[in-house]
Symmetry: D2
Subunit: 341 residues, 4 copies
């Protein structure tokens, strides 16, 4: 079976496995205090163009969203997000389980628009009953979004400006950030992300690590006792080196971006093939996710040879499906897929 289901189906980039082995028997302190975490922090600060950034390593994406959001919000605050945002839909209520509402807002192909955010915030404070409502305490976006779409630099700047006007932090979920940064259709760089966001995370799990997400606080705004808060959420890894080593490798010689570019290049080949063969795109994603509308019969036929994701039922006879490339996809597998399209 050809695998295009997702970008976390394989292990890790081999350089990571090499480094895990090389360092395996060294004794290091636990809980992120080891030299590999420290080295990774410095490399990430540099890549972000933000020397004062505080960097913490967590294990997974839902966990990271839960810990960061809970740590930043006051008890009476919620987090504003696109109605399609990952935290709104596919994290089993992880944010709500810490007592905070996800305030769902309209979106444009998954992207929260600055004017929509501003209108919401303005309306909230103008509503004379807002004291009986959940206060918007931060804004969550993801880049790429659930639809693989990307914010423009202008949109990021706009969201950032609105957040600053209202004194609330802008948080970017970068589970697939590597694929966003590597896109040919983006004007957003990692330093841009660091500049416009108050906090964001660099996803490792989906971009070549066994596990791991690096949270970056960019404005000397790390919540007090953040490590204790990680521990309280069960998110402080004892052998923190496992995360430090991986991010150290990913941020050495540009491997993180390289992983992203590999997937983008293969996605481009695949998109071109879909186009040439007359397939119907559900939407245009500039990253490693391709959304295609298939006739149900055609879908069933393809499923015999290829693993891809069901996205949503479009109508009685058509289904939206998703093909994903990753750091681990081989060009030959893409060619095989094309040959059976």
């Amino acid at each position: 079976m050809l695998n295009f289901v997702n970008d976390y189906a394989e292990g890790a980039h081999e350089k990571i496995l090499d480094r895990l082995r090389e360092t395996n028997l060294e004794s290091t302190p636990g809980y992120g205090m080891d030299p590999y975490c420290e080295a990774a922090r410095q490399k990430i600060q540099k890549a972000c163009g933000c020397e004062r950034a505080d960097v913490y390593f967590l294990v997974g994406g839902t966990q990271t969203n839960q810990v960061v959001i809970d740590a930043l919000l006051k008890d009476y605050e919620g987090v504003a997000a696109a109605a399609t945002g990952h935290i709104s839909t596919h994290e089993a209520g992880a944010v709500e389980s810490t007592g905070h509402k996800v305030l769902a807002l309209p979106h444009k192909e998954g992207r929260l628009q600055p004017d929509v955010l501003k209108a919401y915030l303005k309306g909230f404070y103008m509503d004379e009953n807002h004291g009986h409502m959940v206060f918007p305490g931060m804004v969550y976006i993801s880049h790429p979004t659930e639809y693989g779409t990307l914010y423009t630099k202008e949109e990021l700047a706009g969201l950032s400006a609105v957040c600053r006007e209202y004194g609330i932090p802008l948080y970017l979920d970068g589970a697939r950030l590597g694929y966003g940064l590597a896109s040919e259709d983006t004007d957003v760089t990692l330093p841009d992300v660091a500049r416009y966001c108050d906090v964001f995370y660099i996803g490792g799990t989906k971009v070549g690590a066994l596990c791991g997400e690096a949270v970056v606080f960019t404005k000397e705004n790390t919540p007090r006792q953040f490590v204790t808060q990680m521990k309280q959420h069960g998110a402080l890894l004892a052998k923190g080196r496992l995360l430090g080593i991986q991010f150290d490798v990913l941020f050495t010689d540009g491997l993180y971006l390289e992983n992203g570019k590999h997937a983008i290049r293969l996605a481009a080949i695949l998109k071109k093939a879909f186009e040439e063969k007359g397939y119907r795109f559900y939407l245009q994603s500039p990253t490693n996710q391709i959304f295609i509308v298939l006739e149900n019969r055609q879908m069933e036929r393809l499923q015999e040879k290829v693993n891809f994701s069901f996205w949503e039922r479009l109508d009685e006879e058509h289904t939206v499906v998703r093909f994903v490339t990753s750091w681990a996809t081989r060009e030959e597998t893409v060619r095989e897929l094309i040959s059976v399209l």
Copy 2:
């Protein structure tokens, strides 16, 4: 520096690294649905002598305690534990953060005694105000305990009987279970643990894995939608294979127990040396943790060459410290330590 600080200072048993590499580029389903998790489940069921056991893999110990306890308790219930229990003291309030009280009980060198538990439960239900109190909904023990001590089979049976009398589950935290099972002074086997406990976890992180704990529900008593509950707590690893592969290796050819025995053998050598050199034991631990009372000056001298843990201040001039051996400790390092004692 010689390292005797803890049992999670190194990476993983090399067989684990080998297997991670061998399987690295295979595409597998995420979230614990891969064949390695399945193989590990079957091996653990077999090792437990409990074919109907349900096995789930989580990343770390605090996380596992939080998820299991929260999933088993009803909203109005708390968890009874020794006052010195890990969840009572060193998990940053992870249990309370999910809304549940830890009901602290007296203990004997870290071990909760069946008669103490029974008296507490009996007293609770006799108290005519118990409707205004937190109901005891489960019992937490760890084996080994925070003091490295071990329950006898009789004690486990006793606790189990009390729990069944009151209709509440007995949960065993096995963060260091491998060292407990490998002790020469125990009559408790893994099948005993499975028989007497309703749920327990087999610690990987401290017994040779990079990370990972295997939760075992032994009585067809897995909480409903447990995977969703893991997700909700940020505890469902996307690349579940990372955990499955490790436990598959640990439960192949008895590696888990072998790791434990290695540490126990070295601890025995070290204990004998402490004894012969007239050191004062704070308490006798039959496992891989050795608690020694040092004069402060002596402690400072040793600290120049050896990393060990501060445990507690005994009096103005003496301190309790802890030396820990592990699956990764080399005999030659123990010899070096002995030579500087």
Copy 3:
């Protein structure tokens, strides 16, 4: 100033004050164990035509919603509600603060429609990713709704049937139930509510009591240790008699319904006047709330003499406002209002 702002601006029906005084120096047990609570329970059971109903008294509406919903939901479940539902919007996140998501659904003038609910539930279980989503664990409606509209008996029966099909309880928030039952445009009686809902509450605060809401579990489905759960939420009143006495009076000689009818009669007079004077209705509410679209200048003029509620800005020049009658509104006040329209 004429007061039409809301239905909780005055104290209590004088019969309640009389009874509080008559019973004042009797010594009674606390926490709802007094004879007045017991008498009120029996009268409510009878009024509901449901002798096996379990009845509990709480102090306020948000509190009641929080306690009932939290007690009925499992940790991984949320509550489905109209997007405009009170719990979705105006309870400051009280439901989320207990860890549960409010699953917002489309509505028709505030009413959740059976087919919409069914489509949502069906879609949820068909979604192969639903294990990563919040499970719908119950359905919340209010009657009257936020817009003062009422469910038909058929709609209630339909919602009830869908809930039973999916094995989840239907909960009705009856903060203004008295005004709903007293409407001339309803075919829903209190026994109907008891028949179709698994749990509901009869609002006292807005229908003539100083405070108090009576929760009714109709299907021998009271959550275990419900009194303890009330206590845990700070919702168990020490002098429970204060609630028992009030509901005893409200359910003696039909006072509750009489209070409702009084408000409905005055609302009808007022609606007719609005109509005759050519005012524009925002929507037709069959209960004690009247929603009118005013030109902003007209609104300002009226505000000099009358207190009413701002509802929402319609456009640059028009505003939706709300006039409310209650058990305490005097007919002469309505006449005065009409004279200034």
Copy 4:
């Protein structure tokens, strides 16, 4: 039956009932914005000798403890309290249900001692593992305590000094404050309480109100959006006037203290009688609670004529029981009790 079970068995002081009736049909704003709440606030500020105090009215004691503690603590903090404190034992885990641990400390007849508190806080920050523990974020005491005992002014000053040294607030639960202030054996006044505590509440429920507790923040330290936080906990009463009117009456012409003194005077008569008749006191309480050790047979005989509280089983043949006087106890009832002792 003679009633000495507790101090919340009757309704309210008749002046409160009078005032409720007088004001009954006035239309007032809800949620504590009415003129009676405002008047009560000013009278309380004056009685506390603290004009800058912020005063909020809640309904009950457990609710008040839950809301205040949750609002003051950061997510990673717990509240230090005597192991016998009400929040530690008899509030069904209301504090833990909001995610915070109650850090139980040793006590002296229910009173937390300044040196014990200081040693605990010092030890906490000296422990090199404190980052993995629950941070002490505030201190809870009650006055009178669960045993009816009272802090001296010196103890209060001492606790206050320790709290300030560590930068955490001192919170006093005054459920029975009126009886404490009225004691003949106290040197603590209401202005003392306001001076030494950062926040406290004046209990209404047990000192003559139908319900109601007045929270006083004394140091311009009201948590942000406190009203919203009350709402979120279901603790914001719609008809706030019910609370405002009651506290307005209680703080007019010294009624609150007068209620306290009445109970204290009758308790003194009763204590003297117990003494003269050779009864054994369990401990000496200077307030309205009297703890007596009875032989079980004697207890059963008394129970035929008197309602009192079971406190705890002392040994096989003796039981500790509690007799309570209140604002509502009549001297003639005390005489009757004495006659049957």
